[in-house]
């Protein structure tokens, strides 16, 4: 080759090297808004965690790490928590981060227009003794408060005021709906809802960046088959999720790989335990009898469901939270055995030797292969003489049906937002009231659980707290309040040469992405 050709080839080489750090990823849902306080949903919080930051954040193993707060400690006598803020941090527009922004973000995120207000229910007051210290006073001692605010993102008070975005809007638009100004590792440089969102690295970020990206573009692709094709054709570097039925094929395709994990979401069956009668109106409600509920738990062959419907991707579950979540009980980690004969005997003991018929409600677009799982449950229950009429529907019709008590048995998935076992107790196990047990559709009620919940919420000592959580796990298992089935799998696809970290909360953090080739 002649020398001048080599010289000409060099700039080209550099050009490709720079381009290779451009990264494109796709998911089925576009984040509804760029406002970190308006909507509390995984697509929104997951995306914005790349742009905004909280006082604390979660690491690769979901452990709590310092972020905008460099350290924190409980205040004397359990009055609350004191956070020491990182100094010299700047927002993307150059404004300095101080305690005032934290107080502003608290007021904003806990206002009635915010969807994140419940995170601040235990907060009595917040004050800033100096520009780099924030004291958060809680109504009662609250050991898990730092865990519960990992997704509370800090917005610049000056920026919000200058652009008229002091409060989030649930059914309207503010400047913060389409624009973002955080302290995080990436800046939002383009936002076209439903089309694409472009992020570029924040060169002034307070931490040394692990990633090597120069630009990251997010595109929503709703149709899973199109997303898989886009990954295979190289138009997209990473997709989330991969449909279960495409997982095996993707594993065999050259140039792409499948990243498997489990989410923190437990899929379970729930029962109507409060109505006197079944939905059909014939006869008393058998699900009020714990023996009937236990019979159901023993009749469902979870390992068969995992093998056939989940194609080996999911893990069985025995509690409302999976292993690895804070407060998971190691003592009660075994599922009831799969034993149809014993289940039949239990039904006979309860006075239903010939079984009975009931209504099973199920979503068909909420959890992975949800309707197929329900179909399998129906045929397994038929083995012990129970005739379930399956009514599967889109999730937008499903929740109203559950709220209206139109079910005898139902399917539910639950992911603890605080990554703590207290979370499902509060929402699923406590007797339903205006603010507690709000997802306890079946009306399960146990006085001991109700009494333990406030104690668990305010117990500082880890051992005592775990003992109480163990007790709740035992009660819920003994009474078969729910039938936990399995932990939902997490399936991502990426082309070879993309290094990434899959976190169980299904957040895709760009700061851990490295692209090489």
């Amino acid at each position: 080759m002649k020398p001048h050709h080599i010289a000409a080839a060099f700039p080209l080489l550099f050009a490709t090297a720079a381009q290779s750090a451009e990264f494109t990823w796709a998911s089925t849902t576009d984040p509804q808004t760029m406002d970190p306080h308006a909507v509390n949903s995984t697509p929104v919080l997951g995306f914005l965690n790349n742009v905004y930051e909280g006082l604390v954040r979660r690491g690769k193993d979901m452990g709590l790490e310092p972020s905008l707060a460099s350290r924190w400690e409980p205040m004397d006598g359990g009055a609350g928590w004191r956070f020491h803020l990182r100094e010299g941090v700047r927002f993307h527009d150059g404004a300095e981060f101080t305690a005032e922004d934290v107080l502003f973000s608290w007021r904003r995120a806990s206002s009635t227009d915010s969807d994140t207000a419940s995170w601040f229910a235990p907060v009595a007051d917040m004050r800033a003794p100096d520009p780099y210290t924030v004291e958060i006073l809680t109504t009662a001692p609250n050991p898990i408060f730092p865990d519960s605010i990992a997704n509370w993102m800090i917005m610049d008070s000056g920026w919000a005021a200058a652009n008229g975005a002091e409060t989030p809007a649930k059914d309207g638009e503010t400047f913060a709906t389409l624009n973002a100004n955080g302290t995080g590792p990436f800046r939002l440089t383009e936002r076209q809802p439903g089309l694409r969102s472009v992020l570029e690295p924040n060169t002034d970020w307070w931490e040394q960046a692990d990633h090597n990206l120069t630009r990251a573009t997010f595109t929503p692709i709703q149709n899973p088959a199109t997303a898989v094709a886009a990954l295979l054709s190289g138009d997209i570097d990473m997709i989330n999720p991969v449909p279960i039925q495409d997982a095996a094929r993707l594993e065999q395709s050259p140039g792409v790989r499948l990243i498997r994990g489990t989410e923190t979401r437990v899929i379970m069956l729930g029962f109507d335990q409060s109505s006197e009668q079944l939905l059909s109106g014939d006869g008393a409600n058998p699900f009020r009898d714990v023996r009937v509920r236990r019979a159901v738990a023993m009749a469902v062959n979870v390992s068969a469901i995992l093998q056939t419907i989940m194609r080996g991707s999911a893990e069985p579950a025995a509690q409302l939270v999976p292993d690895g979540i804070r407060g998971h009980s190691a003592l009660y980690a075994a599922r009831p055995p799969f034993d149809p004969a014993a289940a039949r005997a239990l039904l006979g003991e309860a006075g239903y030797p010939d079984g009975f018929a009931f209504d099973l409600k199920c979503p068909n677009d909420r959890y992975l292969n949800d309707a197929s799982v329900c179909q399998a449950v129906v045929s397994m229950l038929a083995q012990i003489g129970l005739t379930a009429t399956l009514d599967a529907m889109p999730v937008r019709n499903y929740w109203p049906e559950l709220r209206a008590d139109n079910f005898d048995m139902y399917l539910l998935g639950w992911s603890p937002g605080t990554f703590d076992a207290e979370h499902p107790l509060r929402f699923l196990a406590h007797t339903p009231t205006d603010t507690l047990g709000t997802w306890n559709f079946g009306g399960y009620s146990n006085a001991r659980i109700d009494a333990l919940l406030p104690q668990i919420q305010s117990e500082i000592d880890e051992t005592t707290r775990q003992a109480m959580l163990d007790e709740t796990a035992k009660i819920l298992q003994d009474e078969v309040a729910y039938v936990p089935l399995y932990v939902q799998p997490l399936l991502w696809g990426a082309r070879d040469g993309v290094e990434l970290t899959q976190r169980p909360d299904d957040f895709f953090m760009l700061r851990w992405v490295r692209v090489d080739d």
């Binding site: 059914d171 809802p193 439903g194 094709a229």
Partner: protein, 326 residues
């Protein structure tokens, strides 16, 4: 004449109102938007407050009346999902759909007429028979499947064309166009074939049968007898006389190309109003659904009205006052 036009316009407006009423009576069955708008940690009080703000508990005629009252002032409400004015979103998304529909229409018309004439003239030839057989595929395969097949062949296997999206677009005021960039033009190919294939085969079969009919008529025989060239006979005389029904059908099909772009847009993640509508259904975004349905019905009713009025111009029998006789 004027009375006829007024009557037709009045009827069209009535149809629109009924379409809106039916649409609003259906929305309650689509589901409840509140669960999508509130997070996991909502309370019953939050649900009730939001339902009240959005007016979801009002009876549907009241909701419809409120919608109409705002719509006549050009206000289609705010999207539940995006929190932005619906009219703004629709204007943003419309160019993608209209460009796709225009390209599909042109493709369908050009290839439909061309192949129709070809298969009529060479009615017993091998190529003509092959085309006729293949055209059955276009009529019988669902759009969804055709789109996926094209993506797998041209994007995944051959790697020639993009698998989704619109490529780079250039902004002209409020209009975004994909016609001016290479990636934009490339991105148009597969979706426009997918969308236009059905219309193409329809036009082709229509032109062929009309053409065969015309070729049998006396004036074509006389034209041949006069020694006119085959070209002049086929194109200047025969084709011209097959065009009237073709134009009618094409006009009506233009509406359905835009309306049925929904499926194609979903398969190719084409950022048009059809994809927006599918999103809106999944999210129970009532303001977007309502505006889209009204827009589509205005379009269909408008096209029908124009076609009706054109008939009056073309056909004098429809024009006269029936009392006067002829």
């Amino acid at each position: 004449m004027l009375a006829y036009i007024l009557r037709r316009v009045f009827q069209s407006a009535l149809v629109l109102l009924v379409v809106g009423l039916v649409a609003f009576s259906m929305f309650r069955f689509v589901g409840d938007p509140v669960d999508n708008m509130l997070g996991q940690e909502r309370t019953q009080a939050d649900i009730e407050r939001l339902r009240d703000t959005l007016g979801l508990d009002d009876p549907f005629p009241v909701q419809y009346w409120n919608f109409l009252g705002n719509a006549v002032q050009g206000n289609f409400g705010v999207s539940y999902r995006q929190g932005r004015p619906v009219s703004e979103i629709l204007i943003e998304r419309a160019p993608a759909t209209l460009e796709l529909a225009a390209v599909s229409g042109v493709l369908a018309l050009t290839f439909g007429i061309g192949l129709g004439v070809f298969t009529a003239i060479r009615r017993d030839g091998f190529a003509a028979n092959a085309i006729m057989t293949l055209s059955l595929v276009g009529v019988s395969l669902p759009t969804f499947l055709i789109g996926i097949l094209l993506i797998y062949l041209f994007s995944v296997e051959l790697g020639w064309l993009p698998s989704f999206g619109r490529g780079e677009v250039v902004q002209f005021g409020g209009w975004s166009t994909g016609f001016l960039t290479e990636s934009g033009l490339k991105a148009l190919i597969l979706p426009s074939i997918t969308l236009g294939l059905y219309q193409m085969t329809l036009i082709m079969r229509l032109v062929r049968s009309e053409m065969l009919e015309v070729l049998r008529t006396d004036y074509i025989r006389f034209a041949r007898a006069r020694g006119l060239s085959e070209r002049a006979v086929n194109f200047r005389h025969a084709l011209k006389n097959t065009m009237v029904p073709v134009i009618t059908v094409t006009g009506l099909q233009l509406g359905s190309i835009i309306a049925f772009a929904i499926i194609t847009e979903t398969v190719f993640q084409w950022p048009g109003v059809g994809l927006l509508f599918i999103n809106a259904i999944q999210f129970v975004d009532i303001p977007v659904m309502a505006a889209y349905l009204m827009l589509i019905s205005v379009m269909f009713v408008g096209i029908n009205l124009i076609v009706d009025l054109l008939y009056v111009m073309i056909d004098p029998r429809l024009r006269g006052d029936p009392a006067k006789g002829h």
